[in-house]
């Protein structure tokens, strides 16, 4: 059984939803690129240089 207070809360929520609803007029908001993509440039390539792997001796 719903209490009086809960019922009143429900009524308020319903009224707020009806009266306060934002206008529907969507606008796209594309995500921006802020970080340099890994491997995009020469400097990145140089920074990622690692010594070449060698196989274990004796195997």
């Amino acid at each position: 059984m719903t209490s009086l207070s809960e019922q009143a809360q429900f009524e308020i929520e319903t009224r707020v939803r009806e009266l306060g609803a934002l206008p529907v007029a969507p606008m796209a908001m594309p995500l921006q690129v802020l970080e340099i993509q890994r491997g995009a440039g020469l400097v990145d390539m140089l920074l990622q240089l690692r010594p070449a792997r060698t196989s274990k001796a004796g195997h």
């Binding site: 308020i12 306060g20 529907v24 007029a25 606008m27 796209a28 995500l31 921006q32 690129v33 970080e35």
Partner: protein
């Protein structure tokens, strides 16, 4: 078309000239400080600690000089004529009020006051309010709904006032605004972005729209909000400083930044299409504090608008824009902790593709603002331990010379440096007082004499509290560097008085550090103890200073024009608050209340 092009070229030239002079003068001051200290340090033989201290002096002096140059630029220039449309405005504008666990009565009373003020302009129907709730506390959310209905009933603005609560806080405030644009952005060419504690005169909002209408490539227009409703000693000093110095510093900033202006997150108007096209905020790779949501999104949004070719401007001549500030040092430090993390996070964006050079410099400035105190503290620490590294004095440097050669004291150089540093801190403010007296800007602040006394008191207070802020900022930087995320705490608003016990719990670690610092100095470098007292004493006395400054101010000093004469929208807000809290059931009462019955 030739005239506007010539005007633009002239304006760009002035911006580059201001930047160049400011940069050159700051570098010169920093180099001077570096050389003076190097000579001082070398008097007993140059060692690695002397070089380290000289480098720290270079960085710290540069930062101080840069601030001083900003004030000088503001004092020596006048705001240019801003284009604006005449006659009736025609553009529909959304007024966005993001809220996050705020007191709904205070927030909605501000909205009601702004609505009344807008109606008086005759253009009220062109402004729609959107309350964008990110509140996570269900009790506060229930009160928001209750008071929203009351707001509608009081203002009769049904169809022009909206309320929505997000199910999650994705992207925090930036995500909240973004969510509005994705839902309703196409309905509004302009949006005024406010904070929950923002207040604006209707005429101010109309003026902002006029300036946006007149310049089609203006993407964002920032106003300079004035702090209001401060009651405590700390709050009123900040309020005075904000009202009296900030317009000059802001004008200097405007002269340096040209079309690459700032966004401070609120009390600004944006062109919604520009904002939507340019400011979709990604999350940074990795975890907080350096990864994840971008905390200080406003600086980044300004940079992104500029990257997309939009003009971002701060107009310091727009009045009637208000906000509230923290009432005590601890609340200020809490807010600063968030800003610190946000600014240090910008280190990830210094090399972001396509940004204007000035935007990168602004990020660097923000980082420096928080790193500079660490430099000062490192300088003090290095000075304490310097005697351990100093080579023994050689009284017989010349071979076969039978008489001792006593080293020449270089104390005058250290003194000169200290005077220079203090000058960089004090002179801009003293010049602002002189300028205010000459141009009669002091009159609304209760006259030149009161302004001069207030400035002296403010300088004294800021000197005493500087070491306390230095410690808070250093702690924030260290917390961020070791990976601690400050989260998204709701802002503390309201009274803000702190007892001595509360102040102690917020600063006992500072007292400990102060005592240890003095002890170490007494051990390793007793001759430095006197020099360190201005820094160490406020640290040791921090709880007393914090508690004292949080108490209600009864001083006649620090009067501001708004405090003395008020403003129509502030009076309106106060009346509405009185009506809602006094004659009506208090907000804590059981819901639903009268608002629902009448809605």
């Amino acid at each position: 078309m030739a005239a506007p092009v010539a005007d633009q070229a002239h304006s760009d030239g002035r911006v580059y000239l201001t930047r160049s002079i400011s940069l050159a003068a700051s570098l010169a001051a920093a180099a001077g400080g570096f050389l003076l200290f190097l000579q001082f340090g070398a008097s007993d033989g140059l060692d690695v600690i002397d070089i380290l201290r000289s480098v720290l002096i270079f960085a710290s002096t540069f930062w101080l000089a840069w601030g001083a140059m900003q004030a000088l630029a503001g004092l020596t220039t006048r705001p240019p004529e801003r284009p604006r449309t005449e006659g009736p405005i025609t553009t529909r504008t959304a007024v966005l009020v993001p809220v996050y666990n705020e007191d709904p009565v205070a927030t909605f009373a501000r909205i009601a006051a702004m609505e009344a003020s807008l109606q008086e302009t005759g253009f009220g129907d062109l402004f729609h309010f959107a309350i964008l709730s990110d509140t996570r506390n269900d009790d506060i959310a229930a009160k928001e709904r209750h008071w929203f209905l009351r707001l509608l009933a009081d203002t009769g603005a049904e169809g022009r006032m909206f309320y929505r609560r997000r199910q999650n806080n994705k992207g925090r405030k930036a995500g909240n605004i973004e969510d509005f644009i994705r839902t309703s952005g196409a309905a509004y060419p302009f949006a005024i972005i406010l904070d929950a504690d923002s207040l604006m005169e209707g005429e101010t909002m109309v003026e902002m729209v006029r300036r946006m209408e007149a310049v089609p490539d203006l993407g964002l227009l920032q106003t300079l909000p004035v702090i209001i409703h401060a009651k405590s000693r700390f709050g009123r000093i900040m309020q005075f400083a904000g009202a009296f110095y900030s317009p000059i510093f802001a004008r200097g900033l405007a002269m340096m930044q040209g079309k690459t202006g700032p966004f401070w997150g609120h009390n600004a108007i944006v062109r919604v299409r520009a904002f939507a096209e340019s400011c979709g905020m990604p999350e940074l790779a990795g975890k907080p504090p350096f990864g994840g949501h971008i905390l200080s999104h406003d600086y980044v949004e300004a940079a992104l608008l500029a990257r997309a070719g939009w003009t971002v401007r701060v107009d310091d001549d727009i009045t009637g824009s208000f906000e509230e500030g923290p009432e005590n040092i601890v609340d200020h430090a809490k807010r600063d902790r968030r800003w610190c993390q946000g600014n240090l996070q910008h280190s990830r964006l210094l090399l972001a593709p396509g940004l204007k050079m000035w935007s990168r410099f602004v990020f660097l400035q923000g980082i420096l603002a928080y790193i500079a105190p660490v430099f000062w503290l490192a300088f003090l620490a290095a000075s304490i331990i310097a005697p351990l590294f100093a080579p023994p004095i050689n009284y017989f440097p010349v071979e076969y010379w039978p008489f001792p050669v006593l080293p020449v004291s270089q104390a005058s150089k250290a003194l000169g440096l200290a005077v220079g540093v203090v000058g960089l801190l004090f002179v801009p403010k003293i010049l602002i007082v002189i300028d205010a007296a000459l141009r009669r800007r002091a009159v609304p602040f209760a006259g030149t004499a009161r302004v001069a006394k207030s400035t002296v008191a403010e300088l004294l207070f800021s000197s005493i509290t500087a070491p306390i802020f230095l410690m808070y900022q250093t702690r924030s930087v260290l917390q961020v560097l070791r990976g601690a995320d400050g989260g998204w705490p709701a802002q503390t608003r309201g009274d803000g008085t702190l007892s001595l016990a509360e102040a102690w719990s917020g600063s006992y670690w500072m007292v400990t550090n102060g005592v240890i610092g003095l002890g170490l100095a007494n051990w390793f470098a007793p001759h430095l103890v006197l020099w360190l007292l201005p820094v160490a004493l406020p640290m040791v006395m921090a709880p007393i200073i914090i508690s004292w400054s949080s108490k209600t101010s009864k001083s006649r000093l620090f009067a501001t024009p708004t405090e003395r004469h008020g403003s129509a929208v502030i009076r309106q807000q106060d009346l509405i608050m009185q009506r809602w809290q006094g004659n009506e059931a208090p907000v804590q009462s059981a819901l639903p209340g009268q608002a629902v019955t009448h809605a």
